[in-house]
Each structure stands twice: as structure tokens, then as C-alpha cells.
């Protein structure tokens, strides 16, 4: 905490020495033993060393992304790069095999007329019930009375 002394007394070299050293990383002697800075109490040195080691470990484990050197792009550079990427994509896209056509073939040019014409005659429905019977036998009675007809018309 400091010490009291008379201004009349000339401060000794020891009293003038700061308590917290500027380079507070504990230095070790080549033989591995800790070397305390001269004239600092042992307890304080240990505490300082502990705090320093904690600080060092934390600093090593933290990744400071704000300090990363990120290149700032000018707007025109950004646009140029976007254009380059679009061009590359277009080239790659054209070199890929064409997607299989998923469009359905057009069946009629008069959809309203086709859809409004007479429904499947009941006689046709009856005629196809035998198909349903076969279906029932094959799938063990799991067919329903629903039937699908494809009309050529």
C-alpha cells in the first residue's frame, strides 16, 4: 500500500522501486526454478504470478475477430466481384446437362370444353367392375369402389 516517510529523508533506492514491475511475466531461470524479482515480497510475487498466468491462458484461448485484418471492399470492387461470380455461375450452369423436362404435354387446347363434356357412362363403369374384381383378388380385398378411367375422346 505504500509507506510513509518523511520528506526530509532521502528515499532509498529500495523505496523508489515500483511494487508492480512493468514486465510482470514471471521469468524462470534456465534450470526451471522460479526467480523472484529482487526485493518483492514472496506472497505478492506468487499472487502476481498466478494472476499473470491466468491472464496469459485467457488471452491464448480467446480469438479476437475484431482484431482480424478484414479487407474493406469498395462498392465498385464488390460489384465487379458479384459480376464475376454471376458469369462463372452462368458458364457452369450452361455446361451442366439440361434438366429433364418436367412439363406435362398439353392434352387439349379447349380445357373447358373437355372438362364440361359428359362424364363416363355408367355402362362403362359397370364394364370395368370386372377389372376391379381382379384387383380385389390380387390385393386381397383392399380395392375400393373408386375407379380411374382414361378417356380418349
Amino acid at each position: 500500500m505504500g509507506c510513509c516517510y518523511s520528506s526530509e529523508d532521502k528515499p532509498t533506492e529500495e523505496e523508489e522501486e515500483p511494487l508492480i514491475q512493468p514486465n510482470n511475466i514471471v521469468s524462470k531461470s534456465p534450470n526451471g526454478t522460479e526467480r523472484n524479482p529482487p526485493n518483492v515480497p514472496t506472497a505478492r510475487t506468487d499472487e502476481q504470478a498466478l494472476l499473470t498466468s491466468i491472464l496469459t491462458k485467457t488471452a491464448q484461448n480467446i480469438i479476437d475477430v475484431s482484431a482480424a485484418d478484414q479487407p474493406m471492399m469498395e462498392p465498385h470492387e464488390y460489384m465487379d466481384r458479384a459480376r464475376q461470380y454471376s458469369t462463372k455461375l452462368a458458364v457452369l450452369g450452361s455446361s451442366l446437362p439440361p434438366k429433364k423436362a418436367l412439363t406435362l404435354p398439353s392434352l387439349t387446347s379447349q380445357p373447358h370444353q373437355v372438362l364440361s363434356s359428359d362424364l363416363v357412362p355408367y355402362s362403362d363403369v359397370q364394364q370395368r367392375s370386372s377389372v376391379l374384381l381382379t384387383c380385389n383378388r390380387t390385393f386381397q380385398g383392399k380395392c375400393t369402389t373408386s375407379q380411374m378411367f382414361i378417356q380418349k375422346q
Binding site: S106, L107, T108, L115, L119, S129, L132, Q151
Partner: protein, 101 residues
């Protein structure tokens, strides 16, 4: 063709209970009546008509039908394709009931 032009004729179909106009790329373009917002039925009908469109009669490259009818007990779905759009109309089935098996 505008959506209104597509649907105007469908509303005049006799005994119609509802309809769907479906695009293979954009999904349901229009719907009304009992099929309003019925995306499930739209999906099923699309699959059915895609499958049926693969049928070919021997020696012919064309699709051998103009209309697909799905006949249920009380109603019928009639489906056709025109201009890359699938039209589905649900119509009342007033005929005598088919034989139940």
C-alpha cells in the same frame, strides 16, 4: 391467359363442385368451391396425371387421352392439361352407383 380467363369457363361447368388450376412450376394458380386451397388434392392429381401422361399406345408417340376421370361414389374428378397448366374439376356424380365389390 389471365387467371380470370382460365377460371371463367370452369365455373360454368355443369354440376361442378369446385376446381383447381395448377402449374407444375408455380403450384396452385386458382381454386374454388370444395377444392379451394386444397393443395393436397392438387398434389395427388398432379401425380396421377403425370403418371397417366407416360402411357402410350403401341406405335404412337402421343399421349393417348384428353381427360382423366377419377370416379368416386358421389363425385368425379375430371382432369386435363392445357398450356402447361393442369385443370381439375370436381363434379357431382349423379349417375347410378357402381356395383360395390
Amino acid at each position: 391467359m389471365t387467371t380470370a380467363a382460365l377460371t371463367a369457363g370452369l365455373e360454368r361447368i355443369p354440376d361442378q363442385l369446385g376446381y383447381l388450376v395448377i402449374s407444375s412450376e408455380d403450384g396452385v394458380l386458382a381454386s374454388a368451391g370444395e377444392l379451394e386451397n386444397d393443395e393436397h388434392t392438387a398434389g395427388v392429381m398432379m401425380q396421377m396425371v403425370r403418371t397417366a401422361s407416360r402411357f402410350r399406345l403401341s406405335g404412337s408417340p402421343d399421349v393417348p387421352f384428353k381427360r382423366l376421370s377419377v370416379i368416386l361414389d358421389d363425385f368425379v374428378y375430371t382432369v386435363t392439361v392445357s398450356g402447361h397448366k393442369v385443370f381439375v374439376v370436381k363434379r357431382q356424380h349423379n349417375q347410378q352407383e357402381p356395383v360395390n365389390v
